[in-house]
Symmetry: C2
Subunit: 346 residues, 2 copies
Amino acid sequence: MTPLYSRPLDLEQGRIELSHGAGGRAMAQLVAELFAAEFDNEFLAQGDDGARLPRCDGRLVMATDAHVVTPLFFPGGDIGCLAVHGTINDVAVMGAEPLYLAASFVLEEGLPLRELAAIVRSMGTAARAAGVTIVTGDTKVVERGKADGVFITTTGVGMLRDGIEVGGANARAGDAVLLSGPLGDHGIAILAARHQLGFESSVQSDTAALHGLVANLLRAAPATRVLRDPTRGGAAATLNEIARQSRVGIVLDEAAIAVRTEVAAACELLGLDPLDLANEGRLIVICPAQQAQAALAALRAHPLGREAALIGEVIADERCFVQLRTRLGGRRLIDWLAAEALPRIC
Amino acid sequence: MTPLYSRPLDLEQGRIELSHGAGGRAMAQLVAELFAAEFDNEFLAQGDDGARLPRCDGRLVMATDAHVVTPLFFPGGDIGCLAVHGTINDVAVMGAEPLYLAASFVLEEGLPLRELAAIVRSMGTAARAAGVTIVTGDTKVVERGKADGVFITTTGVGMLRDGIEVGGANARAGDAVLLSGPLGDHGIAILAARHQLGFESSVQSDTAALHGLVANLLRAAPATRVLRDPTRGGAAATLNEIARQSRVGIVLDEAAIAVRTEVAAACELLGLDPLDLANEGRLIVICPAQQAQAALAALRAHPLGREAALIGEVIADERCFVQLRTRLGGRRLIDWLAAEALPRIC
């Protein structure tokens, strides 16, 4: 067999060209020397248009997310690990065990191969750490100025054990609301990376794969009703969504909601509310009150849930309001913003 | 429950704004009034971060494809139906029955909602016609000039029946090579839509879902070894890929390969080879010679395979060459282009 290409990809000085998406030798080389080399597994090695996976006897869960975050690299992460974590989390908050990921790339002509290689390595590392396999993929290239570096869509498939029934419509009056850690780190880390803070910040994105935390939780509190990761739109949008899906109200205790000092300071300066900021490694849990302490203990026993807290309760409310009991003893409505001040946060 | 938005989306005059991707009310409205309304099914109606699917007892197949075709609308189709067909076909050529699709959208700020609505309707129509359900999705919006209208990634999951073993590495010397119809229609339709032909053309894209054709074929020729749809890179790239995966040679009969008169004329004028042009509704089949006639009859019995033909055979060849026996009796090597003359064909 004659070799397909005369020299290896130049991952230091090279750049993405239109030919890397054209279905010919250049694309085959990019796939072989970068994607397949980094994601290395038996399914990708099949080299077909899709992946043949093992038997799967159980209920499936499927989730997909496009990632368009800017900048591509930010404190605590990059678009690569974010794309892996984001979709793992979407599968995990359905109560399922994430098994397989598909990854689809839209690359802009001129993207330095060095940057793409760093992103792909970050994806590989994140997937291996999570025990999830990137089994199939696709690469397209568009002309310079027709995209913004790289967009990555990941799609996840997972298995749902019998007996687990979580969903946004399951919250009931009397349930407890828990949060796994401080709010707003990802949002502020992205703003810092965009130099929009106006000051130095050491806040790192909280991007992380939550399925281990979820597994811990579901063992301790199998009657858990709702799981959600408060990404775009923040906890405010997520809780309003749940309230509407379940046709209930939610009351939060401001004093119980952790926000890092630096995040709180940045929010005050910029007129942002930590409840509106995106998170990429936080979990909101709604469970029956009698399992709340077991759930809290399970969350805190996991490295990603050490700062978990009981932050509120579900109440009967036909208006589906989300309210905050403030530190001063008042109540304010947590609205669901029409838009967000921060586009392309994930 | 108070209504989330004061007036319905203006699908005639409205445009995509950054808020439509920000996780707030505007996004919820876009999802509810456009995507969920058009794709309407019980899984999307769950309204969660992913889809809970029924039990699935068998081998899974997973495939993903980003679609960046330009222009968005072309003779015979648009990016919407193409995104549905493309991924259905990637699942089908693994020998599997496509069941579920996930759809992820990257939208450019300013995209007319009228165009998006037409694309989404086309996806819904294509999915319903194929009996495949779009169970989950995601929408991101990027600033004007940071994308090109809309990119759509679809990911498909299908089930593989026991006994079906098709794959690019399975071709053996002596096998027959079949093709389901004429080559190059999609490529020329896109060139025409880009006004790059220099003359009027009535060629329509061949975009179509091939799983029905594949099912017909596999019933008649269950020992089929390789299935592939020759998209980007055309039949030349696809056959070279198979030859390398299977470590065999392939010899084609030029006279047996159908090319529409208009496509042949356009190719001659533009210096293109129909074997390099993209197809979106054609199937290449490699099966044992003794099942070739049964396979051919099964293909021809399906509306998408009426012009199917036996176009060549697999031979032993350590160099993995793909050769063409020309009409004049000579032989020429069918090379695998480094790049393609036509970026963003799908």
